[in-house]
């Protein structure tokens, strides 16, 4: 591709959608390949290959527990992050069925939380509004949770679309007896796990592990009841044949990203600051989410008069892969409920998220094409 602005060697294609899925960490790849040959057997059997499998699975569990600061017996590997959210949240509600059937949640939870609440019979979900930055106020959530019949509360660690970090520790304290479910999928590995939850969930492919590995955390002593059919597995909270190689690869990736996160987060956060500043400098463009108390690797902004789908395609033609929360990019033709809840502009929306090895040259190249892409799309509609 030729570059009209005469820039030399633009490093494209650049993948700027790690919040959807992070590329496999090199540490995970190595471990994965070895474990494929070692961890094929059924870890419940009594023969030697089975004992190998079991050893690898237990090892994966211990590494994940250590990285997240929890007990190994609180860790369950599930078939996906979504499954961990469904299983975790519904199990918490089931464990509290005698108290009530109301779920109180922030209005910006991941759709996995909303879908689980929708699906559950007799569960009434109450969404608590957020401020313009996408943050739910501690007192608002606590007040909603103080009503009789509230079984549980759900609050994400950080928002997957706009990056804003929620005040989970304070919320947990304010909730008192009401147990808290924390969807930590957007932050796990990148930031320390917040405290105070009864049940939490994470997803390996968001931190550089393979897809198909979710992590369900059930605090020792928490009242959690399996909401789905049981299965005879090593860990009876989960279902299906254990994906031992993937679990071990996920653990290896988590250990690696945890070890390198101080350095990576600092670098990513500075790059995101530069994207925020450059996007804000484009006329009629709104940068969304908290500028400081946020995930280090992602930012969202919206450009007036621009079609989100056209923007994603135009950036892709320049070699940049980004996501969008605009309605025209969704199969349902409804805009992101996160942007809606924040009162943010929903059209012309772009989410940029960096990988651990995104370079400043890639970000600079992106920022050099962004203003002209926006200008051209506006010109097409006479704006």
């Amino acid at each position: 591709m030729t570059n009209a602005s005469g820039q030399s060697e633009v490093p494209v294609p650049a993948y700027l959608d790690t919040a959807s899925s992070e590329p496999l960490h090199p540490a995970a790849r190595e471990t994965f390949l070895v474990a494929l040959d070692q961890g094929y057997a059924d870890p419940r059997r009594l023969h030697r290959p089975a004992r190998n499998s079991r050893l690898l699975l237990d090892n994966a569990r211990e590494v994940v527990a250590d990285c997240l600061g929890v007990r190994p017996d609180e860790v369950t590997f599930t078939p996906s992050g979504t499954d961990a959210v469904h299983r975790g949240l519904l199990g918490l509600l089931a464990g509290r069925a005698r108290v009530g059937s109301t779920l109180v949640h922030s209005a910006v939870e991941h759709s996995a939380v909303l879908h689980a609440a929708d699906w559950a019979e007799r569960v009434e979900a109450v969404a608590v509004p957020v401020d313009r930055l996408g943050r739910v106020a501690v007192e608002d959530l606590a007040r909603a949770a103080a009503h009789p019949g509230v079984a549980a509360a759900a609050v994400q660690s950080a928002n997957h679309e706009v990056g804003t970090i929620q005040l989970v520790d304070e919320i947990a304290e304010a909730l008192g007896e009401v147990p808290l479910f924390v969807d930590a999928c957007a932050s796990a590995g990148r930031l320390p796990l917040p405290g105070g939850w009864a049940v939490a969930a994470a997803s390996a492919h968001k931190w550089g592990g393979p897809a198909g590995v979710g992590v369900l955390l059930v605090r020792k002593g928490a009242r959690w009841r399996n909401p789905f059919p049981g299965d005879d597995r090593i860990d009876e909270r989960s279902t299906g044949f254990e994906n031992v190689p993937a679990a071990l690869a996920a653990a290896a990736a988590l250990r690696a990203v945890t070890a390198e996160r101080d350095e990576v987060n600092t670098r990513q956060s500075a790059l995101i600051d530069s994207v925020r500043a450059a996007a804000a400098a484009i006329s009629d463009t709104e940068v969304v989410g908290d500028s400081t108390d946020r995930l280090p690797h992602l930012v969202t902004f919206s450009c007036l008069y621009v079609d989100g789908e056209a923007l994603v395609h135009a950036l892709d033609r320049h070699g940049f892969g980004v996501a969008s929360g605009s309605a025209c990019t969704a199969s349902t033709l409804t805009p992101s409920h996160v942007l809606e809840a924040m009162g943010a502009l929903t059209h012309g929306n772009v989410r940029v998220s960096l990988s651990r090895d995104t370079t400043s040259a890639e970000v600079a190249a992106f920022l050099s094409v962004l203003p002209e892409v926006v200008r051209d799309l506006r010109a097409e509609v006479g704006m």
Binding site: V306, A327, L333, P335, E340, L345, H347
Partner: protein, 82 residues
Amino acid sequence: MNTPKITPDLELDCRDLLCPRPIIELARHVADVEIGQLIGVVAHDVAARTDVPAWCRMRGQEYVGEDTAPDGAPRYVVRRVS
């Protein structure tokens, strides 16, 4: 919520337009009314519910509220203030 019926000075029929077209129409026609007058955007597209107030905030205009057109379509009302 029952907002009392308002009579905009100009109404834009954006019933069949998808986002961001209703907002583009609003931007094109806001200067067609005098400062202090009202402009109504009638749109079925659900994004307009968020994007009309967001446009007002970003462009320094006043969002008055939502009511419905005679045929029941949502109508978003803006006061031109600058």
